[in-house]
Amino acid sequence: MTIIASLRGLERGFANGVKALGPIDLDIREGEFLSLLGPSGCGKSTALRVIAGLLAPSSGTLTFPNGRPRIGYVFQDPTLMPWATARENVRLPPELEGLKRAESDTIADAALARVGLSDFAGAFPRALSGGMRMRVSIARALAGRPRLLLMDEPFAALDEINRDALNEDLLKLWRQDGLTIVFVTHSVYESAFLSTRIVTLTQRQGRIASELALASPDDRTSEWRMTPQFADTARQVSRALRASVTVAA
């Protein structure tokens, strides 16, 4: 299996010298849906920021064996520009890349259509609901045409109905585009539903505690949530998470 990014002995400390992450060794495989699961403050977000190149590792290496892929990033908050419409927000990545306005608009409109917000292209963020704003945020990431999509607890602030709907839509996008997704979460059920692989992190130093490959069906829908198999998966993930927290304590 092709490796898209490889972390070796990777560490990152805070300015005060306290270790925020690692050392961790992790290979991100092309096409996988990898969840980083752990309690708050375990360095999950730090890991994403390092992979995105927004933070330099304090030691260890981050390599991209086949060159740095196009990266998309979705934050916990929608993080939209309030003075710009949905379309203007979404066309930001292609515009910054230097594409023409018309091309950027075409890309933005296609991305908005994919998250079901074609009718809201001209709406300002304040006029949209929390779930819709998060969809705009995802559309913006898609507009950057990423191969690697990094998501930092994107649905943590949403109600369960919105969250479930977005989980299913995200899986669809992942499958259609053959995306590689690294998804940070502290939700057992979310990671059990979405992932092909889960890595749990320890409470404090942010090391890898355990790794779980999930054998979930490809077409996971809301039906899948109701099956005993899903319950089994969730139980397995929950056990792994608990073990990784006690390791550190």
């Binding site: 920021r49 995105a52 190149g53 927004l54 990266i71 990033y73 934050f75 908050d77 993080t79 520009m81 309030p82 003075w83 710009a84 419409t85 203007e88 930001l92 990545p93 910054l96 890349e97 001209g122 709406a123 300002f124 963020p125 304040r126 006029a127 950057g144």
Partner: protein, 262 residues
């Protein structure tokens, strides 16, 4: 009656009641005009002196406006410089504070001497600018710095240059802060102009403040009130114009679907 019209009618009713009481008391007790003129006398003075008062109002207004415009331009420019260079900010900011905390009345005579009485309007302009400048600088600096950190990261992730981040992220983020600073600064520009005129203390100044000093020296109290009234009206007009501008600009962020980029 709806609360909105109450909001207009209540203060209006109070104002009219106070004016009537004032008029009645002054007439009943025959208060001398040089102590407290009746509202009607103030109105008469206003009408009689209107041409000369309007001339002075225009002088004061023009200095205020130019000082304010200069404050906005220089304040925003310096704030942008600060946002781009921490060194420049550390070097200059304390002096900006010194300029701000030194009372303008105390600097006025010095500036007037330096600039010269023959160019008194320039001296007034400089003094009003000193007063109006700081709220623009501090609010814009704060605004430029308060751009969403995650958005800054997103811009960087997609390869934005510093200039792009400034133009497309930091400046729009600073806009609400700037508009708020402008509301403070607009009023201060007027106060600065008036105080500077007092501080200059010279007959070569021809603004409203000088009219007040002049009328005071001659015990023309009604005229003083008339000039004061015009000053207050000017201050209110400036505030409302800027509040309206703020409302109009920020309203587009969520109400209108019009793109604000070219």
């Amino acid at each position: 009656m709806n609360p909105r019209s109450l909001r207009t009618l209540l203060p209006l009713a109070l104002g009219i009641a106070v004016l009537m009481l004032w008029e009645g008391l002054v007439r009943a007790y025959e208060v001398p005009r040089f102590v407290l003129p009746a509202p009607s006398a103030i109105w008469d003075a206003l009408i009689a002196d209107l041409p000369s008062l309007m001339g002075s109002l225009w002088v004061t207004f023009r200095i205020t406006l130019i000082a304010f415009a200069l404050a906005v331009v220089t304040g925003v420019a310096l704030a942008i410089l600060f946002s781009q260079s921490r060194t420049v900010e550390m070097m200059l900011y304390p002096y900006a504070v010194v300029l701000q905390v030194t009372p303008v009345v105390a600097i006025a005579p010095l500036i007037v001497i330096w600039v010269g009485f023959e160019r008194i309007n320039l001296a007034l302009l400089i003094l009003a600018w000193i007063v109006a400048f700081f709220p623009i600088l501090s609010n814009t600096t704060l605004g430029l710095r308060s751009a969403d950190h995650n958005l800054v990261d997103l811009f960087r992730l997609h390869g934005a240059s510093r200039l792009q981040i400034l133009k497309r992220l930091r400046l729009p983020s600073a806009l609400p802060h700037l508009l708020n600073g402008m509301k403070t600064s607009g009023g201060l520009a007027l106060i600065g102009t008036v105080v500077a005129e007092y501080g200059a203390g010279s007959g070569t100044a021809t603004g409203l403040a000088w009219r007040i000093i002049e009328a005071g020296n001659r015990l023309q109290i009604a005229r003083m009130f008339a000039a004061l009234l015009l000053l207050a009206l000017l201050g209110i007009a400036i505030f409302f114009a800027l509040a309206l501008l703020e409302y109009w600009v920020l309203r587009q962020w969520h109400e209108s679907a019009v793109t604000q980029e070219k």
